[in-house]
């Protein structure tokens, strides 16, 4: 789960990371009031996507009037499909001496949290990583030890940070990791971390992602979910315990198991089709889940055909077939479907589906080809 900048930075601040004073505005008038209070702000779109700067989602508001105008321009803006509903108005940093990149994230390959830092902070850090990898400093964290002072010293020393700032940097880095760990984050990123004209460290921008599996014990973070911005289909899928990602094609897919779901999409594409979604209904494939999945798939007007691919496994194929039939009765639709059942009791299941006048297929290739044909209307 991704957080907004203002949420991430508030969590950082709870762990001692210095952030600018700032408030969220939902209207231009609010932005004006905030700027009047703080005396000059930067107005930033709060959306779950990158590249908002280039898209015009970040503007200066040196005066209340300018802030109001900036908010007016940004609010309602569409950035990569997300509509901006709120802006963060942050006090301007008192002069910027240097911009640093600093992140704590999970390094899967080494199975450890990792500090990543660079003295060359700012917008183009990926380019730095590619062209001057030696400028990216990486330090792994042992979870049972936390961030030790020698680790901050190493990062500070390698970045050439002024010695007077080492202690503050250690405190900040310790705080960032503490925030990472306490909130079950998979990423906490400060870019840029600024050295101000007054010689202080300040986290000017912040990003944070939290492990979905840990939300059960992270009530505060879970409550930060921005439901306003979340697409309806994804919200429904999440609530039904279904793993769903919308795509641009026209063949709706319903599969049990993530690997088989991806494979079903791959094979569909192999035969010239375009999947409308990734959808894994998980284990069991009960009637109500099948129904929920169908409803979500069919809510996409692009969908011209549905491909259902279930491997019976321990759940028997005839039971799955009954579930599908029951679900179809509940969800009335004209969109054509092809169903392929495999594994235990697949034959019995297929017979039930054939009786229900459904298009069936034996192999995945066969099913995909039929779905492609159905979507093209050549059935």
């Amino acid at each position: 789960m991704n957080l907004h900048e203002f949420q991430a930075k508030r969590l950082f601040a709870e762990h001692g990371v210095p952030i600018p004073n700032g408030e969220v505005a939902y209207t231009p008038a609010e932005a004006r009031e905030i700027a009047a209070r703080l005396g000059g702000v930067i107005v930033k779109a709060q959306v779950h996507t990158g590249g908002r700067g280039k898209a015009g989602g970040v503007k200066l508001g040196r005066t209340p009037e300018e802030a109001e105008a900036a908010a007016k321009a940004i609010l309602g803006m569409n950035i990569k499909g997300y509509t901006v509903g709120k802006v963060l108005c942050d006090e301007l940093a008192p002069g910027i001496e240097q911009e640093i990149y600093l992140a704590v994230l999970i390094d899967r390959a080494n199975r450890r949290p990792m500090i990543m830092a660079s003295a060359a902070g700012g917008m183009d850090i990926e380019q730095v990583a590619e062209e001057m990898p030696e400028k990216i400093i990486k330090v792994h964290i042992e979870p049972s030890l936390g961030v030790r002072s020698y680790q901050s010293t190493y990062v500070a020393s390698r970045m050439g940070l002024p010695k007077e700032l080492w202690r503050d940097f250690h405190k900040l880095l310790t705080g960032l990791y503490s925030c990472f760990k306490a909130n079950d984050a998979s990423l906490t990123e400060i870019n840029p971390l600024v050295i101000t004209g007054e010689g202080k460290l300040l986290a000017v921008d912040g990003k944070m992602s939290v492990d979905d599996n840990a939300l059960y014990r992270q009530e505060k973070v879970a409550a930060m979910r921005d439901v306003a911005e979340e697409p309806v289909a994804e919200k429904q899928a999440r609530e039904a315990g279904i793993n769903f990602i919308k795509l641009d094609g026209n063949i709706g897919c319903m599969v049990n198991g993530a690997g088989l779901a991806m494979t079903t999409m791959d094979v569909t594409k192999l035969f010239g089709g375009a999947p409308a979604n990734f959808l894994d209904i998980g284990g069991g494939a009960k009637a109500d889940q099948v129904a929920a999945a169908l409803r979500i798939i069919l809510s996409d007007p692009n969908v011209k055909a549905v491909l259902i691919n279930i491997f019976g496994g321990i759940t028997r194929g005839d039971e799955v077939a009954k579930g599908i039939v029951a679900a179809l009765e509940e969800v009335q639709t004209d969109v054509p479907m092809v169903v392929r059942l495999a594994g235990t009791n697949a034959a019995e299941g297929m017979a039930i589906l054939a009786d229900a006048k459904m298009e069936t297929a034996v192999t995945l290739s066969d099913a995909a080809q039929k779905a492609v044909a159905l979507a093209q209307g050549s059935n």
Binding site: H48, A103, R108, I125, L187, R217, A258, G259, D266, G313
Partner: protein, 294 residues
């Protein structure tokens, strides 16, 4: 022959009295698995009956070990208790455990994996379908009905996709030594390389099928390992060629993972290691049959 489990493996099940645990344990016993004990805190002294067998239930794994000497464990408990069960099983001295539970927080797994490595204990999973030695024993979900004994070792990140591949092999008359689902979690206990080593050393395994998917770099590392250390033929499939790139936050992920993690990168690495990669899972069994001269 087989790897990791056979009909003599003595299995203890953590979570045996739970809904999921009792259902799958029953299936395992009916398949022939030698389940010797179960564990549910507070239910010590009860008896779990299945397939005409009486399995004693203990309050803790250590008591189960003291009384019944299991040498393998299956953990099937809710996510919030699973990490504790992993520590408990390792502490009790059981050298091999399979954790089926999904949704374990990744930071918990990082700590658990470091602990297991220090102890020298092997974990399969979490969030995996388990493993199956056809005709002998099963830990987890892999349906025994679609498998048959034979010379192919199967290792996979996936669940149902694996069943699909096993089913296809069996339908062509090609049996399996052992089928191992390592699970797709970012941090797991047993990786492709660990299983490849075991298959390479297992005299009964003649051919290896490896099923990967996008994300991480386990397939790339496995490809490098195969090139150097695996003499047996390996056939592969990678799921997720058409998956959209994940919605990444920030720059860190891109910097860390670089180009690894994509299906193209994995397929390229495997082909460079001399491993044929099927475009369609329907083809895997055919390629294996061809390479085995069937």
């Amino acid at each position: 022959m087989s790897i990791l489990i056979d009909k003599n493996t003595r299995v203890v099940v953590s979570g045996i009295t739970g809904r999921e645990g009792s259902f799958h344990t029953r299936q395992m016993i009916e398949y022939g698995t030698n389940v010797v004990a179960g564990v549910t805190p507070g239910k010590g002294g009860q008896v779990f009956e299945a397939g005409g067998k009486k399995v004693p239930v203990f309050n803790t794994v250590r008591e189960a070990v003291e009384a019944t000497q299991p040498n393998a464990s299956m953990i099937i408990v809710p996510a919030r208790f699973a990490v504790d069960a992993i520590y408990e099983t390792a502490d009790a001295g059981i050298p091999f455990m399979t954790c089926l539970t999904e949704y374990i927080p990744v930071l918990d797994m990082i700590e658990a994996r470091a602990y297991l490595d220090a102890k020298g204990v092997r974990l399969l999973g979490p969030n995996c379908p388990g493993l199956l030695t056809p005709g002998e024993a099963r830990i987890g979900f892999i349906p025994g009905e679609v498998a048959m004994p034979g010379p192919v070792g199967v290792v996979s990140k996936s669940g149902t996709l694996t069943y699909e591949v096993i089913d296809a092999l069996t339908r062509l008359g090609i049996g399996q030594t052992t089928c191992v689902g390592i699970g797709g979690d970012p941090i797991n206990g047993t990786d492709f390389i660990d299983v490849l080593k075991l298959f390479e050393a297992d005299p009964a395994t003649e051919h290896i099928v490896m099923i990967g998917e996008i994300g991480g770099n386990a397939e790339e590392k496995a490809a490098a390992f195969i090139k150097e250390h695996v003499t047996k033929p390996v056939t592969s499939f990678i799921a997720g060629r058409t998956a959209p790139p994940g919605r990444r936050m920030g720059h860190a992920g891109a910097i860390v993972e670089g180009k690894s993690g994509t299906a193209e990168g994995k397929i390229e690495a495997l082909r460079a290691a001399g491993v044929p990669v099927a475009d369609n899972p329907d083809d895997i069994a055919k390629i294996v049959a061809e390479r085995m001269g069937k």
